[in-house]
Every structure is written in structure tokens, then in C-alpha cells.
Subunit: 129 residues, 2 copies
DNA sequence: TCAGATAGGGATAAATTTATCCCATATTTG
DNA sequence: CAAATATGGGATAAATTTATCCCTATCTGA
């Protein structure tokens, strides 16, 4: 992994949840595992934008943080299944609320996000006329 | 800022909320502004681990995403106040839920996070004996 | 008059996270 | 036999985010 040089803060609840949930694909992994997509290859297909590598890395972290459990079946070709722990399941309502907020405000969010992205690229070209 | 080279995904609610909420201090900024700490210097004091620079950057993004509003008073020395927009206020219950989850599981989270950090640094030294 | 408070941002370095590429194993299918 | 499926991780490059340093401006109080 990577040994941090800047110490982590664990002062408040937001620090703590941030530590286990930051990571580009972690929330989706938890969500899809909860929906029953338990095998790495299934998760990979559900999240095609992520590389296999990074999904493995983030799955490992979720496991280290005891949000999911990994079962390796001793067969060939290999078979692996992830499941949410009881602890991990307590996050599902929260993830649901996050996704719902995003869906509820989809129009507005797409607008402001796009606007901002355009403003940045316009800024880069502002000296060209 | 930084013009992205990898395109942003805006496919689902989780993508959307991620776009506006990712950033090391954004959630805390929203929370403290909601608690009444509206001036940049107050926010800086509430979040001493963040540099002034990065707080400004993240405040700018929150403003661009219309989660907060900025009022500049034409006085000297300068005075600025941020407020949540109605849109921004809809995030408060969600942020509250995130923080509560972290607080509710504080013990366990501190344990697994610390364990993982130690495992990483141990791995780094595993060839030294 | 110098220190400190207030606010903002450019330039650049450092830290951290993701992406890419490649290799390994063994079975099943065409 | 070649190709596909399944899973995992080392090595390294690239992308992205944060941190540091420094400069600007004005007012207030010691």
C-alpha cells in the first residue's frame, strides 16, 4: 500500500467514517455486494470504469476495516465471495441516503458540476483568442 | 484549479454526490457553516489542520456547486460571510448521519483503522530483522 | 511604526490515489 | 492447442489533491 507521511486524524465521527469510506469505488462496492454481487468478477462487470487492480485494493481495505468478509473456495478456477459483515450492513442505509440525495437533485447537480468543469477549461484557454 | 484528464462520471446519484462532497474538508466546512461559523477566519480556527489555502479552494468549489453563498462586505479589513443555500441545507441531515455513524462506532473504527495502519508500516519493515 | 487580524490567490513541491502493464495458475470450451 | 474465465498482486507511471511558501492590501491597537 502506502505508508502515510501525514498522520491521520481520528478526532470525530466524520474523520472516522472518512477513513473507511474514502476511495473512489468503495461505496459502490459495498452497495453492489449488498445487492448480491459477491464475486470479484461480478463486481468488476458492475463497475467497468474501475480497473481490476484498484477494485482488489479497495476490497482489501474494506476487509481490513471489517466492513466485508472474504471467503475463498479452494477450487480451480478460483472462486471468491465477499459479504457484508453486520458492521458493514449498518452503512447501507447511509449509502442509500447518499445515493437518494444525488438522484433527487440530479438535474441541478449535473448543471452545476458541468458548469464548473467548463469554467475551469475556459480559464485554461482564456489567454487564447 | 486543475483540468481533469480522466472524464468525470455522472451516471448515478452516488457519482453526483461524490463530485460535490469529495475533498478533505468540504463536509466539515458545510457542517461548521451550518453551526454558525460563517467567516473564513472562524472556519480556519475550527479546522486548524487545514491550510488557509485549501480551505479557500474548497469553499470556492462549494460555492460553485451552489451549496453555499458568499457575501463580501465592502469594508476594511475585509469581511466575508458564507451561508448555506437552501440546496446546501438539504445535505445537513445526511452529514449528521455520517458523523453519527462514526461516533456510534468510534471504538471499533479506531481499532480497525489503527490495526491497518500498523499492518502497513510493519509490512514496510518486514525485511529488516 | 511594527505586529496582528482579515481575505485571496499564484507558483511549486510533496503526498496520495488511480491507472496501466505484465506475470502466474488451472480449468473449460471451441 | 489457443483463447477465455477466475483471482491476485508487483512495478511503475500518471493523475489528482494537499501542503508550503510567498506576496498583496488596509485597519487597529500597543
Amino acid at each position: 500500500m502506502y505508508e502515510r507521511k501525514i498522520p491521520v486524524n481520528l478526532n470525530c465521527g466524520l474523520d472516522l467514517i472518512g477513513e473507511v469510506l474514502y476511495g473512489k469505488w468503495k461505496i459502490r462496492l459495498l452497495w453492489f455486494i449488498n445487492e448480491g454481487f459477491q464475486r470479484p468478477s461480478e463486481l468488476q462487470r458492475k463497475i467497468p470504469d474501475a480497473s481490476r487492480r484498484i477494485l482488489n485494493m479497495q476490497l482489501n481495505e474494506l476487509e481490513a476495516h471489517e466492513l466485508i468478509t472474504k471467503v475463498i473456495y479452494p477450487v480451480l478456477p478460483p472462486k471468491v465471495e465477499y459479504s457484508l459483515t453486520e458492521f458493514g450492513k449498518t452503512l447501507i442505509p447511509i449509502i442509500g441516503a447518499l445515493g437518494k440525495w444525488g438522484d433527487d437533485h440530479e438535474e441541478h447537480l449535473k448543471e452545476v458540476i458541468t458548469k464548473r468543469i467548463n469554467a475551469i477549461s475556459a480559464g485554461k484557454n482564456s489567454t487564447i483568442h
